[in-house]
Symmetry: C2
Subunit: 467 residues, 2 copies
């Protein structure tokens, strides 16, 4: 008890080492004793560490009620392996015990023949529910909801409600929020088990239910639904169709998963990687290459323009070679300042703190930050150039004029970088693109070109060289 | 019902426009009618949009039971304004209604004189609880827990348990998981309201409780605690001290907040920004500057080394000026490939998918990805240089030798970048630093230097120029 994540992982690994031994010595009941003391999620972790040939046997050792819970926590490769090893009746048992939304999650990862087999062994009701959820678009609330919730009628008493909950609870993912429907299946209210516990047995549901219910539509984006959980602290949120009929609920644990996945996607996009929902360790080198190379190629080709800018100032550079040595510093600083602005804005957009209409305030704020940063950087650099580089290291090429050119470029580059960095994600969002794409790599490529043009223009003006 | 986030925001803004009118016309009861139909979190959003002089009045219009709920959802500036406007008895009422963990959150953001006033008006019990939580380290489980949970004794019957829940529920943040303590306050089990509802009234808690309880220690890192929620789908997790005594619980909504905050922090660090928990729109330009400038200065100074590398090859560059024009492309591509590897690894570490012991597998995978990416990029670039740049644009300086130098540099740079990008975050983690710092800006600075050294070495070798 009170173990840290790390200790727990170490324990699971240790056990994973011992399991093959247990099995080869046929100590099944001892193994069972250990397993039933564990949390299903931990058994899931354990199974992923085991040799694949041990998996069906270990799974069969588990008591039935634990087995189907564990099934939800293992990765899809292992699920597929187990399903293939199941007899028809075993498969039916597992499917009967699964919640419908978990079954859908499993189905979405399986090859067609496995899906067929699962659907064949699901009972008619389950099959209908599965098909209902499967038909919603990939990133919609409908696709992550479950159809297993407790529904009540408004004319029931609290006592009736408790009876109904007791009778149906075993199949429901959450019983703590119950939804009240009218005869047309329209959602008209909700009541929590806490409300029921605090009420008299004879009170009517209609008297104690909350009628201002916040709900979402089946077609709403699942990320915006997940964000509602962080705002309202709900256990579950009801999902209605266009006619206001209750069709399912999204539970907080699924919302948490959506938030984690969407954040990972955002982070990947910010690093110029096409997003994927496969964990890194499960991806082959070839799959990783496919996710990364399109952006690298695009960005490499874009960098050609930067090269062209340098080429067009080649003569100036040849006569003032010292200027070349500041190119990396100017480009990097521009890229870094621009990324700071863009990443801050991207994250604020996805947390709902910034919208397009805030653009003027954001730009004005970034301009002030840019002036502060630009002056600080330029001052630090000016002092460094004339003391360390010129006096101490004795680099005579660095004159006061050269230092001024570099520092003035710094200020202007930082200003451009911050403005570009904060506006592009907002424009992207407005135009319906994902703002996360407008992060470091893109901003850097654009700011590179800008900083070089600024640099060479200023150099041409101040150092009296031909451009 | 079924409104999207956007529609809801638009509605709240519209209402915010009208509120000052309601107030100037003294239509308080009409305003009240609208407000009591709203969710407390939405009222909180509304209040942030209102002119500050309207706030105390609008808050007083709210019925008491809604008012303290709303208080939790407004930002700390508004909270401070309201507290200042409260009479002593009003303040006492609000504090009495708040959960202790919310009170602690509020106290942490308030200036000392406000904290003093809050503590003065909290009753003795509340003050003790607050002080207990405040003494835990900033990022620990203890600092985000609440001490208000339902506790049971194992010799109670289910009926007794329901009575106890009914009697105490109103003050508890969650009642759905009840914790069983022995006479020494040691946590010995838990029982959910679902279990209680499914059990007979005369059954003993000791017979139905789950005894394999997963708990965390008060000093555990709050991020690792929050990660346990995504793994186990708990509603709450118990927090115990070093003696195994139950001292509080962390609820899923607080865990969700921790996850969001920690992810924002990670993203900020990845963009070379010192993290903050203040939303962007609330930060002044000066505060933003303070969060950004240290990293910019550090990275700018680091880029000096890159400049020194260029300086030391100045003569070579002067005689082969065309080489300069490829510097940005090589630096950017190196930075981008390195960032892809580092960001992927950083995110995998924080999701718990990768640990230090996986290093050899990760490095081997990245080497293979690097070879694939490097060859693709080099091939594309080679073709582009000799067709578009040489043939079509007529740049005669680009010989086959020059193209080979650039492409060979690309391959080696990508290889170094991927290896540096994937290993640095893991070393950082191992040494107890935050891996998120080892993202794009740092990797880029390091890879820049590496790519230039590689470039000039290869150029010197192949083009027969003096280095």
């Amino acid at each position: 008890m009170g173990e840290t994540e790390k200790e727990k992982n170490a324990e699971i690994e240790e056990l994973a080492q011992k399991v093959p031994e247990f099995i080869s010595q046929r100590k099944y009941s001892e193994l069972k004793k250990i397993l039933i003391e564990m949390n299903p999620a931990d058994i899931g972790d354990l199974m992923e560490e085991l040799p694949r040939e041990n998996l069906p046997l270990v799974y069969r050792i588990l008591p039935k009620e634990i087995a189907s819970e564990v099934f939800v926590y293992i990765d899809s490769d292992t699920q597929e392996l187990l399903i293939t090893s199941f007899s028809d009746s075993e498969l039916k048992e597992v499917i009967d015990d699964l919640y419908v939304d978990d079954t859908v999650d499993i189905i979405e990862e399986m090859p067609a023949n496995v899906v067929k087999r699962i659907l064949k062994h699901a009972d008619q009701d389950m099959r209908n529910e599965i098909n209902k959820i499967l038909k919603y678009p990939k990133d919609s609330a409908g696709s992550v909801m479950t159809t297993e919730y407790v529904d009540l009628k408004e004319n029931l008493t609290v006592e009736d409600a408790f009876l109904r909950i007791r009778r149906t609870a075993v199949d429901k993912e959450t019983i703590y929020t119950c939804y009240v429907k009218d005869d047309n299946r329209k959602l008209i209210g909700l009541v929590t088990v806490k409300d029921l516990l605090m009420a008299d047995y004879q009170e009517k549901i209609s008297d104690i239910m909350e009628t201002n219910v916040i709900s979402v539509n089946t077609t709403d984006d699942k990320e915006s639904v997940a964000n509602m959980f962080t705002k309202y602290d709900f256990l579950a949120i009801p999902v209605v169709d266009n006619e206001g009929r209750l069709v399912g609920i999204v539970t907080f644990d699924d919302a948490m998963d959506v938030l984690q996945e969407e954040t990972t996607e955002d982070i990947e996009k910010m690093a110029a990687i096409s997003p994927t929902d496969k964990p890194y360790m499960k991806m082959s080198a070839f799959e990783l290459w496919k996710k990364r190379i399109p952006w690298l190629l695009l960005l490499m080709i874009s960098a050609t323009f930067t090269g062209m800018i340098i080429s067009s100032f080649e003569e100036a550079l040849a006569s003032f070679v010292v200027l070349t040595s500041f190119i990396p510093m100017l480009m990097d600083t521009g890229g870094n300042t621009g990324s700071q602005a863009s990443v801050t804005v991207i994250r604020s957009i996805s947390l709902g703190d910034i919208e397009f209409k805030n653009m003027p305030r954001v730009v004005w704020k970034e301009i002030r930050v840019a002036v502060l940063c630009g002056i600080t950087l330029a001052a630090a650099n000016f002092v460094k150039l004339l003391t360390i580089d010129r006096l101490i290291l004795g680099n005579g090429d660095i004159t006061v004029q050269v230092a001024l050119v570099v520092c003035l470029t710094l200020i202007l580059t930082v200003l451009c970088a911050k403005v570009i960095g904060c506006t592009l994600p907002m424009f992207a969002k407005k135009l319906g693109f994902d703002p996360a794409v407008m992060a470091s790599p893109f901003i850097t490529t654009i700011v590179d070109a800008v900083s070089l043009v600024v640099y060479f223009r200023i150099a041409t003006m101040f150092l009296h060289i031909g451009g």
